[in-house]
């Protein structure tokens, strides 16, 4: 399934931040999202994930295909690693969490409470969630924060395996994951303020 974005303008707090976005995300490809801090990368990912409507433009092929990972991992500290993963697996209607545990080396931690994990371990658990969603388009927002070198490698391998199975990924990151992916720099799409005297112009 190809994700196609046409002439997209997105807003944050009612103010347009990025405009004129056009790109396609083919199956088996990764797209690395780049741009200076505060440009609206997170807003773009949230819009694509369907959490907020775009101001103008269309997003095709995203319906029920996207697995989204935000800055926070959505972990419950009083549940064990297994319980956290199993919950998301059953919400998304997939059965096995074992591949996810394997891919992010979580087997030894399986019975630990998520609250007792280190920041990097939590992040690994959060990323392992992507594997149990069974969805084809991954959207990741700064996935490598607090990961060490080995864990970054684990993550890159997981993404590569996902792409090989016909999935795709849109990743906002500043480090080089060694992925065979295109780069989407949104720096040039910064929204210019529109005319002030259109219908509701003074408000937007």
């Amino acid at each position: 399934m190809t994700l196609t974005v046409t002439d997209l303008t997105i807003t944050r707090g009612g103010v347009p931040v990025l405009e004129g976005l056009n790109f396609a995300l083919e199956t088996g490809r990764a797209l690395i999202l780049r741009g200076p801090n505060g440009i609206g990368k997170t807003t773009l990912l949230r819009t694509l994930a369907g959490l907020q409507p775009p101001l103008v433009g269309t997003i095709k092929g995203a319906e029920d295909q996207i697995a989204y990972a935000s800055h926070s991992d959505g972990l419950k500290p009083t549940l064990t690693v297994t319980e956290n993963l199993a919950f998301w697996a059953s919400v998304f209607g997939t059965d096995s969490i074992q591949p996810a545990l394997d891919a992010f080396a979580l087997n030894e931690l399986a019975d630990r409470h998520a609250g007792n994990l280190s920041a990097g371990q939590k992040r690994r658990l959060g990323l392992a969630r992507m594997l149990v969603t069974g969805r084809s388009i991954w959207m990741l927002d700064e996935p490598t924060v607090s990961l060490d070198k080995d864990a970054v490698q684990m993550f890159a391998d997981a993404v590569r395996a996902h792409l090989a199975e016909g999935g795709s990924a849109l990743i906002a990151t500043h480090i080089d994951l060694g992925l065979d992916g295109d780069i989407l720099d949104v720096g040039a799409n910064k929204a210019k303020s529109g005319p002030l005297d259109d219908f509701d112009g003074g408000f937007l």
Partner: protein, 218 residues
Amino acid sequence: MIALLLRDLKLAFRAGGGFGLGLAFFLIVTVMVPFAVGPQSSLLATIAAGVLWLGALLACLLSLDRLLALDWEDGSLDLLATAPLPLEAVVTVKALAHWLTTGLPLVLVAPILGVLLNLPAPGFFWLVISLLVGTPALSVIGTFGAALTVGLKRGGLLLSLLVLPLYVPTLIFGAEVARRGALGMETQTPLLMLAGITAATIALLPFASAAVLRINLR
């Protein structure tokens, strides 16, 4: 849906989940009442039904600000919103979990507290019935309030201000059933009204809750 319900129940029962806080609050409020109004058993018997209803209502209110706020803070709500589960189902399950961990225990201990307040004998049955029928509405309405205030830093007080007026019809009919029952009067009309309110809120309010949650997630 079952998975979400089981998770919420598990979270409530584990350490720090807050299960039992509502019950303890209900107990303390009930114990405080005789200190405030005096120990005459005839007076207590008159106000017992109303006081127990008010206590149960406040105990329900107490746990509402954790209902969605915890999932909001740790990002689960974002992830749930992108999951195959419709948000209407999410808020319904959340309300059900809230009722099972707060409302239902209140119903079960209310008769014991009724003894403390000298509730007349015929009142026990009607107190339990009215709470059983009415508390689900409290949870569902409360979920709407929690969804409205989920993004706010200090939403707790505002939540009470928004939810309490919405509780008025439920409280009036619920307490009326218990009061009339205690006096041995006819209870059918208020009980039907109470059941009607509960049924209508369960059927309709989740749509409003999901709508405001969607707005807050933007």
